[in-house]
Symmetry: C2
DNA sequence: GACTGTGAAAAGTTTCACAGCT
DNA sequence: AGCTGTGAAACTTTTCACAGTC
């Protein structure tokens, strides 16, 4: 039982990440990390599930339950030492490591991503950029020299790249994702509006502002759009 | 029973959107819309839950169940007419209307958003931009003249703006969101890494690439990061 | 024969409520 | 007294399986 400080005997070492911890829980941990980081910066040394819940708009019980999957980090009657809990969560999420990231596609969006300063403080280092278009290859974007796609496999190995950000035209998404998977990349942040198919063991997250807007309009549509009367078809 | 073609008597007209339809279902509908749009463009006239499920990596049963909240759109033995189902779903989501959107903050990120061509084809029109910084006010970004924040309330009314995209520095998020809510905006797409507090009836969706990356590293950390041995603290 | 629409079962997730530690 | 950690209960969501229609 070397891996996480949990004391049940789930079959570790299976290739699919079907550990005992529900995926929804994992998805919340980064938010806890962020809130704890904030508290730490504000000089708060001890917190509790009540306070964290208020910040995150989540019930205190949920926070306690989520944390209980990984260990006992608090002290009854007192709460959680902010620094301690933060360190534990970062370690659980693998955020105590530095991660090298490649950006595929240096069009308008890829450019914005490469120039975005928000990744580095969190341990994600954009270390390589690739593009299909010969006129982009060799240019510098965000301090990184753009390489041709043919250099992908070699650079992924040389630079120990484990994560890729895809910002290519929609039509190329699947092909680029296939190439990344073939190179051994197993975490992909997809900025295109395409549902790429990947084998088991590869994770894809999508950033899709249009989908986000479209799921909100449902609630707007009848809560009363000021001027625009929605007429039914059927 | 005017609003949606469903035949149960949930209390409509309540201010919070606690209709009978689960929120997870609403969140999936835009993806169905996208896939159907794709099929339509490819000239496919009839589809079925099997095919849609394969595209979306969702079980056919889930698609049928989701659709059943809104009506009976298919024909047994045949499937769904793509155009018909697409029209129905768009109507349900309010995507048969055009939505005017304001962008708050025209820094690097706001600039990228205002120049992003992906919103308009889906009926979202970026019609106004605001910034606090006097040196940005009056400039043109993405064909839109940047206004001061003081003009917000008036412009929201004049231009029938119902949705806002927030791309300001983190420290200003809550204040900007408060102003938007005060103006009557009830759907906000938040590009900052801050959890804004909003009253009931206001929807916030966040675009947060760092959180997306951080939830993937958990799975990478022990599936075997090529070189980097993760050592436990405790 | 093929597929939808849907109750009912199963699985997953959240919340409750309280024993137990500080 | 105050808060955590956690089984058990409540609730939500997904999947199953099949009657019904084309």
């Amino acid at each position: 039982m070397a891996i996480i400080s949990r004391d049940f005997d789930a079959p570790l070492g299976t290739s699919a990440p079907t550990l005992e911890v529900p995926e929804v829980v994992i998805d919340r941990l980064p938010q806890y990390v962020r809130t704890l980081t904030q508290l730490l910066e504000d000089g708060v040394e001890v917190t509790n599930s009540q306070q964290l819940g208020a910040q995150l708009q989540v019930t205190p019980a949920q926070i306690r339950k989520d944390l209980s999957y990984f260990g006992r980090f608090g002290k009854q009657g007192r709460g959680y030492r902010v620094r301690h809990l933060l360190d534990e969560l970062k370690q659980i999420l693998g955020l105590d490591a530095e991660w090298n990231v490649a950006v595929i596609g240096v069009g308008r969006l890829g450019n914005a991503i490469l120039n975005y300063p928000g990744f580095n403080p969190d341990g994600f280092h954009l270390v390589a950029a690739f593009d299909n278009n010969p006129s982009n290859v060799g240019t510098e974007v965000g301090g990184i020299s753009v390489q041709p796609m043919t250099a992908l496999a070699q650079t992924v190995v040389d630079r120990d790249i484990t994560i890729a950000i895809v910002a290519v035209p929609s039509a190329h998404t699947q092909s680029v994702v296939d190439q990344l998977v073939a190179c051994g990349v197993r975490a992909i942040l997809n900025y295109t509006p395409i549902n790429a198919q990947v084998p088991d063991g590869v994770r894809v997250r999508s950033i899709d502002p249009v989908l986000a807007l479209q799921s909100m309009t449902y609630y707007l549509a009848y809560q009363g759009h000021p001027t625009n009367g929605h007429q039914k078809t059927g």
